[in-house]
Amino acid sequence: MVADVIVGVLFWLLGILTVLAGIAVFVVDSMARATYALAVSFVAVGAIVLLLHQDYIGVVTILMMVMEMAVMAVYMVMYMGMNPALMPMSMVHSKRAALVTAVASFVLLGSGALLVPWPARKGAPPADVTAALGEALMGSKMLVMVVISPVMVATIVAGVVLAAGRGRYDRLGDDLRRKPADDPQPGGVGR
């Protein structure tokens, strides 16, 4: 009983923290603060998922989101050319439309979550939730997943290669034989 109460209180606290941190993203003046307010919001969501006994998903959410926010902070500062980190500057656009859409979707989804007649649970959760989740998600399609993952990585790499301003011929010369490669910032392995 006590455990339930604690879980309940934690759930509400984390929920409120998530929403407040989300609001903070748009209210603070600094890019770095906005990014890390978003990180706090995501970590709180990950913690809520942990409370729901979905351990793997919760911890992986926290892991991925913190790493993403760390990288995103770099890009945010890089692309916002007016030093927004130091300037009190309004970073929201088309305020009214955005606010209306946000409130409307919140009301829609919230009322859905509250008013839909959810079925009662039959049976107990399986002993190993992570394994059961894995089976349910992938199950017989494991081979497809294994093949798709390298294809996705290859697509990302290909996209970056296509977007890069300098190709093999710029680096290695017309006969692809220049040693060492002509890079403005050479790497450590001497490729």
């Binding site: 770095a32 603060r33 890390y36 911890v59 913190v66 770099v74 392995v189």
Partner: protein, 317 residues
């Protein structure tokens, strides 16, 4: 006699044990820092007593020193970052079994450990951003460049023991090293893991974020309690990393005669001594050179190791 080889599962203990656990980890961090300072001062030939108390005196000095603020610094983020390494390291330690006992018997303990060390990315960058100073900022960005290099090989190395043990629970990984420790047939994973630990502790060859070529880097503008917390956090992370290697690769509490928790301590301390030696003897690894080596050499090695482990695991069932 409690030889833990593959028999008992790990038992979760009550929450109030967190305090003595934190004290133990703090003591280990203190010992590591003392060892580091002592082997450094071996050069100057000071007396033994002076060498042994060097860390107490350094802590006293930092406690006595005033804190600083710089112009237009983001004080909230700065203080949060310098103070944040300590709780992060303590959170990591909660999943490490100390003999038979653990504070947090999570079914995904390995992933929890990894999630916490990703927090270091955020904190070190924030510590560089906060002071609004050139050297700190460059230090923070250098850490991120280096982090991009070590993180993926570390993650793949951390995957290998769970594949062999069939579980992400740290206690089960520890118990699955029945007779043959993982370090013996997964040496590459162990090596890459150690590189990862030294790197996320901003230690030794990976301390470019606080390097002398940047006048102290991230710590260039920190003083007093903030500096102390950041430096303490580094050592605590090192202890957490060394401690985690024990159930993952070094057989947990397994060993003859002595109790399980004694063996955990012994193995952790041996690994910490190795890390301190590495800190003295290995020159700093610059991120621009390290990143390419990490992606082109370490990562394929780690993935190949995972493949070998997976084949063996499938073959065993």
């Amino acid at each position: 006699m409690s030889d833990l080889a593959g028999t008992d599962a790990v038992v979760a203990v009550a929450g109030y044990w967190a305090v003595p656990a934190a004290a133990l980890v703090g003591a280990l961090a203190f010992l590591t820092a003392s060892l580091h300072a002592m082997s450094g001062s071996a050069v100057s030939g000071r007396g033994r007593l002076a060498a042994a108390t060097v860390l107490v005196r350094e802590v006293a000095r930092l406690l006595r020193q005033r804190r600083r603020r710089t112009v237009a610094a983001d004080v909230l983020l700065w203080r949060f970052a310098t103070a944040g390494l300590v709780p992060l390291a303590l959170l990591k330690v909660t999943v490490i079994p100390f003999g038979r006992w653990t504070l947090f018997d999570s079914p995904v303990g390995v992933v929890w450990f990894n999630a916490m060390d990703v927090g270091v990315w955020a904190l070190v960058w924030l510590a560089g951003w906060g002071p609004n100073a050139v050297h700190s900022l460059v230090g923070g960005y250098r850490f991120l460049a280096q982090a991009v290099g070590y993180e993926l090989p570390l993650m793949f190395a951390l995957v290998a023991p769970p594949i062999a043990a069939g579980s992400l629970r740290v206690g089960e990984v520890s118990a699955a090293q029945d007779g043959l420790w993982f370090v013996v047939w997964m040496p590459v994973a162990f090596g890459v893991y150690c590189v990862g630990v030294v790197a996320f502790s901003v230690w030794g060859p990976f301390s470019v974020a606080v390097g002398s070529d940047l006048a102290g880097g991230v710590l260039a503008e920190s003083s007093g309690v903030d500096r102390l917390l950041f430096l303490a956090g580094r050592y605590l992370l090192l202890v957490a990393g060394a401690g985690f290697a024990v159930p993952m690769f070094l057989g947990g509490g397994a060993g003859p005669i002595l109790a399980g928790w004694v063996w955990v301590l012994v193995k952790t301390m041996l690994l910490l001594a190795a890390f301190v030696a590495v800190g003295h003897r290995v020159p700093s690894l610059r991120p621009d050179k390290f990143v390419e080596a990490a992606w082109v050499v370490l990562l394929p090695l780690a993935v190949a190791q995972d493949m070998v482990v997976a084949v063996v695991a499938v073959g065993r069932t």
